[in-house]
């Protein structure tokens, strides 16, 4: 099993009455709540936390893309990945990723990801999310009815731009380019591994399985809730007559490790409730514009996770009164002693068959000290208990370790320059 440290980079100082005073954390969240000084501290501490995770033995560090969102301060995760590429070595950079349909032309994504792969010495995982309705329709003005088709065309173009040795022309419905010939080309051959983070949609699974992409379910509601979706994914794997290799799947899980349950509650209850109550306060009208969900997904009865908590009758009121006990009982969070956490993750591995675990060890307004404690506890006391899971399978969805002459560390120290 492989373990990755995922950072959402939430704004850490949303007021306590945020839910009452504002309709949404996303799309139309008031700019008056953003203090650049707080943002400066947050970005730097969050990068420290990602670098720290790399130093204590995580396989990958993950950054992702959101727009006009107070719980995700990364409109461009590529900038974060570039900063991390220079400050880390060995650890893989999981860019989760670029919402392809938002970039015109999509070769921009092929270029930036190729830069990151070369800069990092072949450590990039290329993530291609469709993107949430909030990001794509409401912030970036894309028609939900054509978003998926545009996305698929963009992914095709990017893969060709990486693959084709010669200049080629691309005559798509959404993009027409006479000369496609990106410089640089990725270091990894034939291409960096592609991961598709998504809630759940039938088309996404088919896309992953037809192209040998990893499917990552980024759930905020724990693995018990995630089981239904992952079962549907493995059914799709059966339909494509492929083996149930756990490394073709990833899952996101909130995790809080402490010496015991009481310490877990003391350290993690406040940041967890900050996330569920303030960060997930999304206006219901933004979560499912007509046309965003495909007919096949609608027919399969699949509901988006943000839609689930905003649209169901009573769901919003329920979120407002959530307690730490609720979070644990419902399995949103895996929390407790290292042994407890390892047991739960073993259970998840049994039930969901996922080889790539994306851990959320920072959430909400957690302090840097607490995050580092959580990260270290997980790396030192939980990972060793789980490392051998799925060792009988080959992981074909992750960058290989490549010995390189050049160091990722700065060749000239700042002191030498000044």
């Amino acid at each position: 099993m492989k373990f990755h440290f995922f950072h959402l980079m939430p704004y850490p100082e949303l007021p306590a009455d945020f839910r009452e005073k504002n309709r949404s954390v996303w799309v139309d969240v008031p700019s008056s709540l953003f203090d650049p000084a707080v943002g400066y501290r947050a970005y730097n501490e969050y990068l420290d936390e990602l670098e720290y995770a790399a130093s204590v033995g995580f396989d990958g560090i993950c950054v992702n893309e959101h727009h006009q969102n107070a719980y995700g301060l990364m409109p461009s995760p590529n900038l974060m990945a570039a900063a991390l590429a220079r400050r880390t070595s060995g650890v893989k950079l999981i860019l989760m990723g670029n919402s392809v349909a938002l970039y015109n032309p999509p070769t921009r994504v092929a270029e930036e990801m190729a830069m990151l792969d070369v800069m990092s010495g072949g450590r990039l995982v290329a993530g291609f999310p469709v993107g949430t309705p909030m990001d794509t329709t409401f912030c970036y003005g894309q028609s939900p009815a054509t978003l998926r088709e545009k996305y698929r065309e963009g992914v095709d173009l990017i893969l060709r731009a990486w693959r084709e040795p010669d200049v080629f022309s691309f005559n798509g419905k959404y993009t027409q380019l006479r000369y496609v010939n990106i410089w640089p080309r990725p270091m990894q051959k034939p291409r960096p591994p592609v991961w598709v983070p998504g809630g759940a949609s039938v088309e996404t699974w088919d896309l992953c399985l037809e192209n040998d992409f990893l499917y990552a379910n980024l759930s905020y509601f724990g693995y018990q809730e995630g089981q239904k979706i992952m079962d549907l994914f493995w059914n799709a794997v059966d339909r494509h007559q492929l083996p149930h290799n756990p490394y073709r799947a990833g899952f996101l899980q909130f995790i809080a490790v402490a010496n015991d349950d009481a310490e877990a509650e003391r350290l993690y209850a406040e940041p967890a409730l900050y996330f569920y109550q303030r960060c997930l306060h999304v206006y219901a009208g933004f979560v499912n514009p007509p046309g965003y969900m495909s007919m096949a997904t609608l027919k399969a009865g699949i509901e988006g996770q943000v839609a689930r908590i905003t649209n169901r009758a009573g769901a919003r009121a329920e979120m407002a009164t959530l307690s730490w006990k609720d979070l644990i009982e419902r399995g949103y969070l895996v929390a407790g002693s290292p042994a407890t956490v390892a047991d739960r993750i073993n259970d998840m591995a049994d039930k969901l068959n996922v080889g790539h675990l994306m851990t959320l060890l920072h959430f909400g307004n957690m302090s840097k000290e607490t995050t580092m404690y959580n990260t270290r506890m997980f790396a030192e006391k939980v990972i060793p208990r789980l490392r051998s899971r799925f060792s009988e399978w080959d992981d074909n969805w992750f960058p290989r370790d490549v010995p390189l002459q050049a160091s990722a560390a700065p060749a000239i120290s700042p002191a030498a320059v000044s």
Binding site: A284, N288, M295, K299
Partner: protein
């Protein structure tokens, strides 16, 4: 009003309501579809011939599979106007239908003799931004995604052309 299915050369089928006698009106309905018992339509029919097509997607979502944008929608309506053999007519649109009517008039300025836009949707004015109806939660909305979702669940995913339920034709 009489209700018939009109086939287009492209193979598309349109449900079209019609009634009354006199100068021709092409009526494009709003977000709630065509209500054949609408008193406004009844009043118009005392002096005019009223033809009221049901917009693509209101009977069957698959009708939208070839229509990605407003231009394709305008072209689709042009096909319908041709199939109906309408030569001189007044084009009246209400709400969402007024948005389509304005687009038809812009694409084919010689087609309608007169253009009437009732509470038009989709005409942008910075000083008076129109409500974002596509950002209305479906639990609070009787249109758009809520309608589609309820229809999909009511028919267990088997969507096919059906008459619009009466409950959608009238305001509650």
């Amino acid at each position: 009003m009489k209700d018939e299915i009109v086939s287009l050369p492209s193979g598309r089928r349109w449900q079209v309501y019609s009634g009354g006698a006199g100068p021709q009106i092409l009526w494009l309905h709003g977000l709630r579809g065509v209500d054949p018992d609408d008193p406004l339509l009844a009043a118009l029919q005392t002096r005019y011939r009223v033809t009221a097509p049901v917009a693509p997607g209101f009977n069957d979502l698959d009708e939208l599979s070839q229509i990605d944008n407003i231009h394709e929608l305008a072209l689709d309506y042009d096909d319908l106007i041709g199939a109906l053999g309408l030569k001189s007519f007044s084009l009246i649109g209400h709400s969402f239908g007024a948005m389509i009517a304005a687009e038809i008039a812009a694409h084919f300025p010689k087609a309608p003799e007169r253009l009437v836009l009732l509470a038009p949707f989709g005409l942008w004015n910075d000083a008076y931004p129109v409500a974002d109806i596509f950002a209305m939660p479906y639990t609070q909305s009787t249109t758009s995604s809520g309608m589609i979702r309820r229809r999909a669940s009511a028919s267990r995913g088997r969507l096919r052309p059906t008459p619009m339920p009466r409950s959608w034709r009238r305001r509650p």
